[in-house]
Structures are given as structure tokens and as C-alpha cells.
Amino acid sequence: MGEEVEDMDQVVIANRLSDGLVVFLAAAPGSLQGEWKLRLEQASVASDDARAQELLALGVAAARQEQKVIEPYLIEVERTAEGLRPTLYRERIRCQGPTVRTDLGKQAEAREV
């Protein structure tokens, strides 16, 4: 308490239109074109709010113009030794797959929730 609030790291998450799978936006700063990636590690991470808003605007525009993704929004992530980790458990499950049927899908890969 009383410390300065640091900007959280953020990424843009969405569902891919064609198959509904969870995707993340990757786009270089200043770029007008982004790519939607299937893995959180491939996402562009915004470490300040201005960059986060830039990414979100790009994602929303892409959703509207290209109609390839649904409902992009920002989630907070933290950098850990194992890689990026969403701060909310809902988003951790969303990124890593269900915590059941861990014999298949992306949840079959190593995880912690």
C-alpha cells in the first residue's frame, strides 16, 4: 500500500471466428497490421497503458474490418520464470485450456492454475 501503482503488462485476447479457439494479438509497435497467435507466449505484451490501448484498438479494428476474430479485449499478465501468466484465474484457464481432460488439447501440456 502507498506504493506507486505500476502499469500492468497486458495482452489482447479474442476467439478466432472460424473455430472459436482462443487467440492472442501479435503486432509490432506502430504497425497497422497484426497477427492472431494461438499461444500466449507469442502475444505482444504491452507494458504501459498507451501501448495496451494501441494494441486493443488494432484488435478491435481487425475484428470489425477483417471479421476474423470475436470480442477482443485486454487481459493482465505477469512475467514469471515459466513465461507469461494471466493474473485472473479465469483468464489462466482460458489461456491454458480446461483443467479437466488433461489428456488432450492444449491442457495436455504442462500447466499450473
Binding site: S18, D19, G20, E71, R90, G105
Partner: protein, 551 residues
């Protein structure tokens, strides 16, 4: 069972063709998501946490082997090799692709299935008793009436945009296996003083944010008046139901706010106007539908089942399966065999494609090709020769389908929760899995006896937690999964809402709490008493003391 006529086929195939064009336009970017969402929901296609989810109707829980094989095929070809049976006679696939959904719907149409009215503010899939047509003491096969309701409610223009979704359940037996009292309309078949069959009409039950047990607004309705009376109820609801607030839009709130007496008066007044209209069911039409539900060609069998009795005497596991999973059949020498989808440590209600194929084969080999789906997320082979139960059991066991726990503590209803659902606040399946692991021991299972645990991952209560003997509700508390526990609910003919025990628990604590509740029951019960009977006798305090310590 019912088979589509030309109108049914045309309707379902037209819808597939229409949806195929809509999907093409969406994928081409010609429709926005806002424009497309209502169209896909009209065809049962939701967008969930990880992917799309397709909800397929299994009308009144009746499937034949051919349809089950088709579900297995879809699971394998278009999904990840499994599907989930819900609490309302639906199958949900968790990973369908939008671009392949029209093909899935075409596959379903080829076996007389669809996903119409499995979402949206319309009359949903009518549910029923899984023992329909097989239960001892049943007044009539309720599926005849379910099918009549299905035909009336399918694409009913007046009731396509109700204030909120609308669910109807029908039972033909005294014993309520369809949770009829927590439906928007529940129908129980009754006989009047003259011995004529009809319906007790119950309205305004429901779970979710504001749970209610339904109120009987008519103790006896003659059968031929079924549709006009339902139409009268729906009309009153369609006018009075609140469209200003989604959380107050279900008929349970309308009945509560209007008062059951005034609501009944309005329904009866409306009914008088339409009672003798075209909705009055002509006998020949009822007979035509009824012919679809004529009993299969039962053989004349001996009352005794020597092979089954011998196996019971020497095989404890088989004996337990017969005791819990097999129910009495109305025809001598036959039995109803339940297939539990609640193996220890696995998601309740899930079945793999291989298991679906096995069930289809067993239905053909043992049950005239008939399968039923239960609201408790299990399956049933309704017509099995009692003396062939050992053979059936062995084949079920080989497929991992012989869990002997119907009605016991590990027969848990659980919604998909936060593992799949975008509305959920907490996970539900892992809690259920851990409870089944905690109570895996056969002797302890038997000792505890009849016990229903129901678990929901949010207040919408798809896991029926309000009517569980023990109900578990997942909530989000400051960014952590947290669970409220309630006890004393029932979904049966003695329907009751449970009461919250007290402050909630972490995911780590909740299984211990269930165990403390169970231990309290075992310490207090009189000989032969079930959990719910003990609870009703001693009340909540002893359970509270055990869970929270003395106040």
C-alpha cells in the same frame, strides 16, 4: 419411438440449409458478430470460454442406437472424441468449428436430430422421465405428450420471443425423476375420481438466481385440453413477463409477483377463450402419436432370473451394480438398466465416442435399440431381460461404464463450470471429481446410502445446487474460487430448496466440508434413515456445529 414425418424432415433440412448460408456469409465477413449471434444461437451454437459449443436436443431423453452412433461419429470426426450429457436431455460438444457446424447439423438431420430451440427465449427441449414406457405403476407413457408438446412448441410464432427461456418437463409416474417442480411448467400425470388420466399442472418453478418450487395451478387437466391450457399459460406469461430486467423475466418471478391465485385466474380466463379451439386434441391425432411409442415386442419371460441370482450370490460387485443401477420394469422378466456416467475422478456426464458406440451396440443387443438420457447426466437401457444382466454388466465393465453408484454420493450432477463455460465464476467439475475420489470406497458408499450432491459454477444453477441434498455453488471472491455449501434440497416429488449452511469455503476446504456433513448424518441417523430424512428430523444446527465448530 417417434419418427419424423415429411414435415419434420423438411423443417429440419430447411434449417440446416438456411444456417449453412448464414455461416458462409459470416465467414465471408458479410455479417457482423452482433448480426450473427442470434442466428447461431437459434441453432444451438454458443461461444464459450475456449471455443464454440454446440447444444443438441435429445427430445424427452429418448435416443436410438443409430442416433447414439451418430453422436459418437460427430464426437470423433468434428470434436475431440467426447461429448457431455447435460441436465436437460441435451448433448453438448465442446470443440466444434463454426465452419464445420452446418455439416454437423446435416449429419444430425440424417438421423432425425437437431439443435433448434436449445438456446434463446423460446420453449426449450421438453424433458421427461428416463423410465418412461418402462416404469412400474406409470399412468401413461409421458413421451406421447412430450411429442405433442414438441410439435406444438417447435417454431411456434407467438412464443419465439418470450421474455425469457421456457422449460417444460412431464412425468407419467408418481415418482418424480424429471425434477418437474423446478421447471417453468411441470406436468405430472394423475387420475381423476372417474379413473381418467390427465395432468396436474405446476407453474413457476425454477432454479438460478431466484429459486422457486413450482405452484400447482390446476390439480387435474383433461388430456385433450393440454395444448390449449399450455397456450393459455404461455400467453399470460408472454404479456405479464418482465422484459425490463433479465433477472426477473422468468415465469417464476411473474407467478411470484402476480400471486399464484391471480395468475391462475388469468390463465383460466384465457383458457376459456381458446379451450374449444383448434388446439383441442383430436383423439385420432393423439392415437397417431401414441402409436410411435407402442411398447417393443417384449417376450414372455419367466419371473425368475437364475443366472442373475447366481451371479448376485457370488459376485459382490455385480450385486452392488444390480442393487443401485437396476430398477424394476413393468413387464415381468425385464429390468431397467442404468449406465452411470459418474466413474471415480472423471467429469460427470461425459462420454467418449468409444463409450457412445458401446452403448449403441448394447442397446441393440439388449434393449430393442433404445437408450434414454437422464437429467442426472446418466444413460439408461430401458428394456433389458433380467436374466441377461450379467452379460450386460460384463460388457459395460469392459468399457468403463459399470460404476455402481446411481443415487449414491458419487452420482453427482455438475455443470461444466469455469472449465468450459464463459458465464461461470468457479470450476465445478474438479470439485465433483474430488468428491468421488474421497468417497470411492464401496463399503462407505453403501453405508452413506442415498445422497445427491449437485454442484454449480455460478448462480445460474445449471448444476441444480439448490435442490441437492448437499448443494455446492462456486463464486468468485476477490479473485479466488470460493464455494458456498447448502443442505436439505430435493429435486424429487418432495421437492425442496436447500438452505445455505454459513460462510463459504476455498476449493481446498470444500471436500472436507462435504465429509463433515456426511459424518454428522452418520452420527445422528436412526436405523434405515436416509440423509434427507435425518436432515429433516434434526435440522441444520448439528451440521453447522460440526462444520464451523460450536458458536
Amino acid at each position: 419411438m417417434y419418427h419424423y414425418d415429411e414435415y419434420d424432415h423438411a423443417l429440419v433440412q430447411d434449417r440446416v440449409a438456411q444456417f449453412r448460408r448464414q455461416v458462409e456469409r459470416r465467414l465471408a465477413g458479410e455479417l457482423t458478430e452482433d448480426q450473427f449471434r442470434p442466428l447461431r444461437l437459434m441453432n444451438g451454437l454458443y461461444l464459450q470460454l475456449h471455443a464454440y459449443m454446440l447444444r443438441i436436443a435429445i427430445p424427452y431423453g429418448t435416443l436410438d442406437a443409430r442416433q447414439m452412433r451418430k453422436l459418437a461419429y460427430i464426437a470423433r470426426r468434428y470434436d475431440k472424441g467426447y461429448g457431455h450429457f447435460t441436465t436437460r436431455h441435451n448433448m453438448q460438444f465442446n470443440w466444434p468449428k463454426l465452419e464445420e457446424t452446418p455439416d454437423i447439423l446435416a449429419e444430425l438431420a440424417s438421423v432425425e436430430m437437431h439443435a433448434i430451440q436449445t438456446s434463446g427465449n423460446c420453449i426449450r427441449n421438453v424433458t421427461s422421465d428416463q423410465y418412461a414406457g418402462a416404469a412400474e405403476g406409470e399412468i401413461e407413457d409421458p413421451r406421447i405428450w412430450c411429442e405433442i408438446i414438441r410439435q406444438w412448441s417447435t417454431l411456434h410464432p407467438e412464443f419465439s420471443f418470450l421474455p425469457r427461456k421456457f422449460k417444460i418437463a412431464v412425468t407419467g409416474s408418481e415418482a418424480d425423476r424429471a425434477a418437474v417442480k423446478v421447471h417453468d411448467i411441470g406436468l405430472i400425470m394423475r387420475r381423476d375420481g372417474a379413473g381418467q388420466a390427465g395432468f396436474e399442472v405446476i407453474v413457476g418453478g425454477g432454479l438460478g438466481r431466484t429459486p422457486f418450487i413450482g405452484k400447482t395451478i390446476r390439480p387435474f387437466l383433461p388430456k385433450e385440453d393440454l395444448l390449449s391450457y399450455l397456450e393459455a399459460i404461455l400467453r399470460v406469461y408472454n404479456q405479464l413477463g418482465r422484459r425490463d430486467n433479465k433477472f426477473k423475466a422468468r415465469i417464476k418471478v411473474t407467478v411470484h409477483e402476480t400471486g399464484a391465485e391471480e395468475f391462475t385466474r388469468l390463465v383460466e380466463a384465457e383458457w376459456l377463450q381458446i379451450k374449444d379451439s383448434a388446439l383441442k386434441l383430436p383423439k385420432q391425432e393423439v392415437d397417431r402419436i401414441a402409436r410411435h411409442f407402442e411398447p417393443p415386442a417384449f417376450r414372455v419371460l419367466s419371473k425368475t432370473a437364475p443366472a442373475t441370482e447366481a451371479r448376485i450370490a457370488r459376485d459382490r460387485d455385480f450385486a452392488a451394480w444390480v442393487r443401485h443401477n437396476v430398477a424394476a420394469h413393468k413387464v415381468s422378466g425385464y429390468a431397467i438398466a442404468n449406465i452411470s456416467l459418474k466413474p471415480i475422478g472423471k467429469p460427470p456426464g461425459d462420454a467418449t465416442a468409444e463409450q457412445m458406440d458401446v452403448v449403441a451396440d448394447l442397446a441393440d443387443a439388449f434393449s430393442f435399440g433404445e437408450i434414454r438420457v437422464t437429467h442426472a447426466q446418466n444413460l439408461v437401457l430401458p428394456h433389458v431381460e433380467r436374466d441377461r444382466l450379467p452379460e450386460l454388466y460384463d460388457r459395460l465393465a469392459a468399457a468403463g461404464l459399470a460404476a455402481s453408484n446411481i443415487g449414491l454420493i458419487s452420482d453427482i450432477i455438475a455443470c461444466p463450470g469455469l472449465d468450459y463455460c464463459s458465464l461461470a465464476n468457479a470450476r465445478s467439475i474438479p470439485i465433483a471429481e474430488r468428491i468421488t475420489e474421497r468417497f470411492a470406497d464401496r463399503d462407505r458408499l453403501e453405508l452413506i446410502g442415498e445422497m445427491q450432491i449437485k454442484s454449480s459454477g455460478c448462480i445460474n444453477a445449471c448444476g441444480h445446487h439448490h435442490v441437492g441434498h448437499i448443494g455446492i455453488l462456486g463464486v468468485d471472491r476477490k479473485g479466488e474460487e470460493h464455494y458456498q455449501v447448502q443442505i436439505g434440497g430435493s429435486a424429487s416429488e418432495d421437492a425442496a430448496l436447500g438452505r445455505i449452511l454459513g460462510r463459504g469455503f476455498s476449493a481446498d476446504e470444500v471436500v472436507d466440508v462435504v465429509e463433515k456433513i456426511v459424518d454428522t448424518y452418520l452420527a445422528h441417523r436412526n436405523a434405515g434413515e436416509t440423509f434427507i430424512e435425518t436432515y429433516r428430523r434434526i435440522g441444520q444446527d448439528p451440521f453447522k456445529e460440526r462444520v464451523y465448530g460450536a458458536a
